[in-house]
Subunit: 204 residues, 2 copies
């Protein structure tokens, strides 16, 4: 066994911390077939996600995001919930020269404000909602062409928005995560992100 | 809305990469009551984890690691699987002045070698086993006193090992994770860690 591997490396570890924001709106899909979401007064979260929502379940089917699996392969569902940021949506719209992008168009479930750089909140962060529900962050949601098509459908006079969105929304398209603790989330309540310790892993 | 929040920050993003190692052994608990594990030739993984193992299930009960919940609260089970490193176990033993620490004593399910600084492999990493099973990394497993007691039980002449272990095993006690894709994992097969992009999240 290589001696190097037995040495403990001193990674520079950033301390855990908390940052708080607000739930501006909650949304769910209207059916299991459609991608777009619709505003609701409150969302009930179970361990499977949002009951009746297209993305609920302990498992999901793989898609274009998992090219290493044959399409439709059953896998864990770490993408039960889509979280978006008011500030980031505004910035994407600005970069795409659009007046606005609504969370519903790209299938968002929670619209949050006040959490800086929401998309960059790291994996394993716990999002603790004031009403008691807790969502665990899987991580950044990579922007795809079908979300871009959802934006484009609302601006029929602009061509190519489906392709422009993945380009301009990189690092801004919010987070996906799964339910750690069930509960009801209401528009207007507070949310606190519990950021874990962080470091950059390297092998040498 | 604060203007600062609408600006996209350029986080220093480390590229994703892969690193490979080997499965040196596989282990499972003998019952749902006991913490210690026992060697097996192969482990079957389902979406719930290891069938019959103490830590299997889509949900688990909270414990001392989650002091913010009343003990026994049902929560998501991101801790289905415990992964340990040959190199790190050797280093913990050295630091505790013990001849060895076996993975079984601290409830390990997979003993791996060749993945440097296993415990520091970041959340959201995918561990792809040669036989087709995939485990998603939740993150570092914080060493606790009950694992220390598991070590101490094997060295009855040494006092205080239960308390020494959490101190000396910090950053070396391996990972916990959950099943992304079911399959059978056998001792001797290869494993590749798919490390995602990394950055340090900060609010300013």
């Amino acid at each position: 066994m290589d001696q190097v591997l037995t040495l403990q490396k001193d990674f520079a570890v950033s301390a855990k911390f908390r940052v708080s924001g607000k739930v501006e709106g909650v949304f769910r899909t209207g059916s299991e077939e459609r991608f777009e979401t619709f505003p609701a007064d409150a969302l009930e979260l179970t361990f499977k996600g949002i009951p009746g929502d297209r993305h609920s379940g302990f498992t999901r089917r793989s898609g274009a995001r998992e090219p290493w699996y044959p399409r439709g392969t059953e896998m864990c569902n770490e993408r039960q919930i889509s979280l978006l940021s008011v500030e980031e949506l505004r910035l994407i719209a600005e970069r795409m020269a659009l007046p606005e992008i609504l969370p519903e168009w790209i299938g968002g479930n929670f619209l949050l404000s006040g959490l800086p750089h929401l998309t960059r909140i790291p994996p394993r962060t716990r999002l603790v909602f004031e009403g008691g529900a807790v969502v665990r962050v899987d991580g950044e949601n990579l922007p795809c062409r079908s979300a871009g098509a959802g934006v484009g459908a609302n601006y029929p006079d602009r061509e190519g928005l489906d392709l422009l969105f993945p380009k301009e929304a990189r690092g801004l398209r919010g987070l996906v995560g799964y339910v750690e603790k069930p509960g009801t989330v209401r528009a207007g309540e507070g949310v606190t992100a519990h950021i874990p310790e962080q470091w950059i892993y390297e092998t040498v």
